[in-house]
């Protein structure tokens, strides 16, 4: 997304746009930050008008003059309409999404139309686009825009482009939204090595492992949310009791997931292992704590705890990307050295 834009435009254009559209979670589209240009179809239409004008001149045909002027004026009218379509539209980043690295993270946006209807909008972040057919005047619509993620950490789309070509597709008006808030990308879960060593297939570790063979497995009654694979069906057949094998017992230090437990592996890989373990513990509703260098989360259980741990894993060692707060446009000049870089998080200015 950002790479695409970067390769297409020279730096000064990007800087100019960034100055014009400061990062903000709320963006009101006005003349200041709306752009409008003819589309390719519009350019061809302009040439057609020229040909029609020449035809009118050469054949001295008043009606062709009339038609040419009419269509030319319609083109200008369409320009205003296209512009008004976006103008006064307020975009709000309602929620920056969360997800695992490699997934598409959903960013929830809210578009609130101003005085005029906003018709046929396209939101895009370079890889995905979402079409919104109609936002009636004064009302709002929520949009979920997927943003692809590659690495763990904070994810902030460089620019979310909002475009419209309504009514005739001859002109396009567009603007960008540059959200401040960043989504969180958790490390991609990778089965931790101790567990892998026990089985062949990493993906099926949880399901195919036989609890019977493991003395440490703790048996407890079935609770809602337990995976059916974990249910001891043999025992169920015998006694009619739903019993689940719990793994908590099978580790040396069952309550702590430790960053240092994987000597010799890369930090990111460790985080991925931890992510997998956190997920697994979370699924089993087990009690566990997380021990990261510089951050310790005491043992607890429950979905909120799981998500807290995941967030800790996602942001470990990362700085929250921040940009200058709502500075009025034009008051600030970025020098190349301290200009806010878009891809690398951090570098608060």
């Amino acid at each position: 997304m950002s790479k695409q834009i970067r390769s297409r435009w020279p730096t000064w254009v990007r800087n100019w746009i960034n100055r014009r559209i400061p990062r903000s979670d709320v963006q009101l589209l006005t003349q200041r930050n709306l752009f409008i240009l003819p589309t390719a179809a519009g350019v061809v239409f302009g040439m057609l008008l020229l040909i029609m004008l020449i035809t009118a001149i050469n054949y001295q045909n008043s009606l062709i003059y009339l038609l040419t002027f009419l269509l030319g004026a319609v083109l200008v009218g369409a320009m205003h309409q296209t512009h008004r379509n976006l103008s006064d539209l307020e975009l709000t980043l309602v929620q920056a999404g969360e997800g695992f690295a490699g997934d598409d993270i959903l960013f929830r946006l809210r578009a609130t139309a101003g005085r005029d209807d906003a018709i046929a909008l396209t939101f895009s972040d370079g890889d995905f686009s979402v079409r919104v057919n109609h936002v009636p005047a004064g009302q709002s619509t929520d949009i979920a825009l997927p943003v692809p993620s590659a690495f763990r950490g904070y994810l902030r789309p460089d620019r979310i482009r909002i475009e419209t070509r309504f009514p005739f597709g001859l002109l396009k008006a567009w603007s960008w939204m540059r959200p401040v808030s960043a989504g969180l990308v958790f490390p991609r879960p990778i089965a931790a090595p101790e567990v892998i060593s026990a089985v062949d297939d990493g993906d099926q570790t949880a399901s195919s492992r036989s609890p019977e063979g493991n003395d440490h497995a703790e048996l407890r009654p079935w609770r809602e949310g337990d995976m059916s694979q974990r249910v001891m069906w043999k025992r169920y057949a015998r006694s009619g009791q739903m019993v689940v094998a719990d793994w908590e017992a099978d580790k040396g230090s069952p309550h702590w997931l430790d960053f240092d437990a994987f000597p010799g592996t890369d930090h990111e890989l460790r985080l991925s292992y931890l992510s997998w373990l956190v997920l697994e513990r979370g699924e089993n509703n087990a009690r566990f704590g997380l021990n990261l260098p510089g951050q310790i989360i005491v043992p607890e259980s429950g979905p909120a705890h799981t998500s807290r741990c995941l967030k800790a894993l996602a942001t470990w060692g990362e700085k929250k990307p921040r940009e200058t707060v709502a500075q009025p446009h034009g008051t600030r000049r970025y020098s190349p050295s301290d200009k806010p870089s878009d891809a690398t998080p951090g570098a608060p200015v």
Partner: protein, 710 residues
């Protein structure tokens, strides 16, 4: 409602298929644009277009599949081949137009994506343009513009497949837009400089037009009498001439060979180019008349006897005929004036001309020649001394013969293959004006009197309100002019002797008994002349069209210059150019201003936002710039720290802002809250200014902040 897609996979904006509704509008527009072409397109082409568009529509419904690439190419090649065979290498505007239509038809098989839709859109817009070359009547103009409107609706549907508010909203949006731009369009139309053609483009149609031609074979004009198409319309500055004086001279046929009359000596080089289509501007003077002629693809202009040219697009020729400089391929307006008296008497007939007007085939029609000799002898007995009196006597005797013997005027003349003039004069005695004119000229020439056939129109009916004259093809007429020594060319109309009704009141009355008036022309409103309502409607439609053609279609260089000369300031071409640029610029500027004002008004709508904005500004000046996402309370406490003097008012302000935004809408007192907030803001400003005076530092950078804080 929403459509999620990978932008990379489908670069096309609309995804795979087109919206059915958009396609429907496109096809409807195509159908509408074809109607003006129906009369000039070959039937097979129309059928092909209908079939191809129908195929596309059925494919959209999922009933059939669109052809693959090979089949498509095959169909294309086959149709182009058929077209080429049909055209046979003749290249005219007609064939170009039909090729254009064929191209649109073939494109139907290829409309898969939005891009194809746009290609069709362009072609159809240009098809409307081409239509205007051939048809300029008001109803065709409305049809063309309607088709364009359909296209624009189709584009709206294409860009918003579920058009909010449905078609009605789409039409309303388009209608409002058209209304808004209409003033600019009208101004541009009036003021855009109508320059001369940039290069010459003949618009010569391959299709024969209905109208008189430069050869006359007995029977030609009687077939013309079955057409009620308009030939031209005339507005007179003064009163209209009497019906019997409405002889519209078009051309002169002076050579007879093989039973056909032709004109000689008019093979001048015709440079391609355009005729000035709006000759004559301004008020008509009493003796002037304005002719708005339908396209004939010929150079001749029709004029009353004894006219002089007023507009500069017609040129008078030696034999009292008027010619355009180039063939009239679109309707042309020109202006002539009737001279007070018709006195070419002083002129002499040059020997070369005398020879030309006495030319006869060496043999044939012996009985007519004998009759001529007989008449000549009888006349010479009466007035032997004066040759011109003798000539007049010959003419009189011939006309008397026509009047007294049982000659009939008929639209159903019998075939007279051999010695046609003889069989007309002595055996059949039934014919149309062309027969009698040819026979009369033959007899006069045989009698040694220079004579010629004149072809043109005679008569014309009044348009609605008697404001102008409509001359139709069935008014086509042929008569004779003979040279009488000392009197010049005089008009002799044998038809007047045989069927005075034709000359006094027109063809309808002349052939009333026979019932042959427009007998093959069922659709012509003129056929139903006795049905008052049809007549009324047809005349009023014609009047609307006449005004349309005169003032809108015919608004070209001369009319523009005339209009401009009436405006103060003496506009020339260059000033018009400036003016046009000014109109475009002013139009854009006004539109921009209006839209900017609307936006500003939109900003003003939330008074709270403005007060809040003013407060933020105030905080900024006090050295506490607002941070992103900061709540009013937080800002107020920071401000309180920085400026203890305003602490209380700032906190109160923040509380009030909060209570405004978080109270349920029903419990609000917006106007009152707003007033209180403004008052509080003013208090804060005052307090800040006071402290500023005390502690000189803060406002040093902006000494006038107090004044400008509003």
């Amino acid at each position: 409602m929403r459509l999620l897609r990978r932008a990379k996979n489908e670069p096309d904006k609309q995804g795979g298929s087109l919206s059915s509704l958009a396609l429907l509008w496109l096809i409807a527009s195509f159908a509408l644009l074809l109607t003006p072409q129906l009369d000039r397109l070959p039937v097979w082409l129309i059928l092909v277009c209908v079939a191809l568009a129908g195929w596309r529509w059925l494919a959209q419904q999922g009933r059939v599949r669109l052809p693959g690439r090979w089949l498509r190419t095959g169909i294309m090649l086959a149709l182009v081949a058929v077209y080429l065979v049909q055209v046979q290498g003749s290249f005219t505007v007609d064939t170009a137009a039909s090729f254009f239509v064929l191209a649109v038809g073939l494109k139907w098989l290829e409309t898969r994506t939005a891009r194809d839709f746009y290609v069709l859109f362009y072609i159809l817009v240009y098809l409307a343009t081409v239509n205007f070359l051939f048809h300029q009547e008001i109803h065709w103009a409305l049809i063309n513009i309607g088709a364009i409107a359909l296209l624009l609706i189709g584009l709206q549907v294409l860009n918003a497949p579920e058009l909010p508010g449905g078609m009605k909203a789409g039409w309303r949006r388009l209608g409002i837009m058209l209304l808004k731009v209409l003033p600019v369009v009208v101004l541009l139309f009036v003021f855009f400089p109508r320059m001369a053609p940039l290069w010459s483009v003949p618009l010569v149609s391959g299709q024969a037009r209905t109208g008189i031609s430069d050869t006359m074979r007995p029977g030609d004009i009687s077939s013309l009498a079955q057409s009620s198409e308009r030939a031209f319309r005339v507005t007179f500055g003064g009163s209209m001439p009497e019906y019997r004086d409405r002889y519209w001279r078009g051309l002169i046929l002076d050579t007879l060979d093989d039973g056909t009359w032709r004109q000689s000596g008019y093979d001048r080089y015709q440079a391609p180019g355009r005729v000035n289509v709006d000759g004559g501007a301004g008020e008509l003077k009493p003796r002037e008349y304005d002719v708005l002629m339908e396209p004939t693809d010929q150079r001749w202009a029709f004029s009353l006897e004894g006219s002089v040219a007023v507009s500069n697009n017609v040129v008078k020729q030696p034999d009292e005929l008027f010619r355009f400089r180039r063939p009239a391929d679109s309707s042309v307006r020109y202006r002539l004036a009737r001279e007070r008296a018709n006195e070419p008497g002083a002129a002499l007939l040059l020997p070369v001309d005398a020879r030309r007007y006495l030319q006869l085939p060496s043999e044939g029609n012996p009985r007519a020649r004998a009759l001529a000799g007989e008449l000549r002898r009888a006349s010479d007995e009466i007035s032997a001394a004066d040759s011109s009196a003798g000539d007049i006597e010959v003419v009189r005797k011939l006309l008397t013969r026509f009047r007294e013997q049982p000659y009939f005027y008929t639209l159903r003349p019998p075939k007279m293959p051999d010695d046609g003039i003889d069989s007309l004069l002595f055996d059949e005695k039934r014919g149309f004006c062309a027969h009698y004119a040819g026979a009369t000229t033959f007899v006069l020439r045989s009698a040694g009197i220079p004579a010629r056939v004149v072809v043109g129109y005679q008569g014309g009916e009044s348009g609605a309100g008697n404001e102008y004259l409509i001359v139709r093809q069935y008014d086509a007429h042929a008569w004779v002019e003979a040279w009488i020594e000392g009197r010049g060319w005089i008009r002799i109309d044998p038809t007047a002797a045989i069927a005075p009704d034709r000359i006094e009141s027109g063809l309808r009355e002349a052939v009333a008994e026979e019932g042959s008036f427009l007998e093959n022309n069922w659709t012509s409103p003129q056929r139903y002349g006795d049905v008052a309502i049809i007549q009324w409607a047809s005349l009023h439609l014609d009047r609307i069209n006449y005004q349309w053609q005169r003032w809108v279609v015919g608004y070209q260089g001369q009319s523009q210059m005339d209009l401009m000369s009436r405006l103060p300031g003496g506009f020339g071409m260059r000033e018009l150019g400036y003016l046009t640029a000014g109109i475009v610029g002013a139009g854009l500027l006004i539109a921009g201003l209006i839209s900017a004002l609307q936006i500003r008004r939109g900003e003003r709508r939330d008074g709270y936002q403005r007060v809040l904005g003013a407060w933020h500004k105030l905080c900024g000046r006090a050295g506490v710039p607002v941070r992103h996402g900061e709540t009013p309370t937080a800002l107020a406490s920071r401000l309180a720290v920085a400026e203890p003097a305003v602490a209380d008012s700032a906190r109160l302000f923040a509380r009030m802002v909060n209570s405004h935004y978080y109270r349920p809408p029903s419990a609000r007192d917006d106007a009152g809250d707003l007033t209180r907030l403004r008052r509080l803001l003013a208090t804060m400003k005052r307090q800040l200014r006071r402290t500023g005076k005390k502690r000189f530092g803060i406002f040093r950078s902006e000494p006038h902040s107090g004044k400008h804080s509003d």
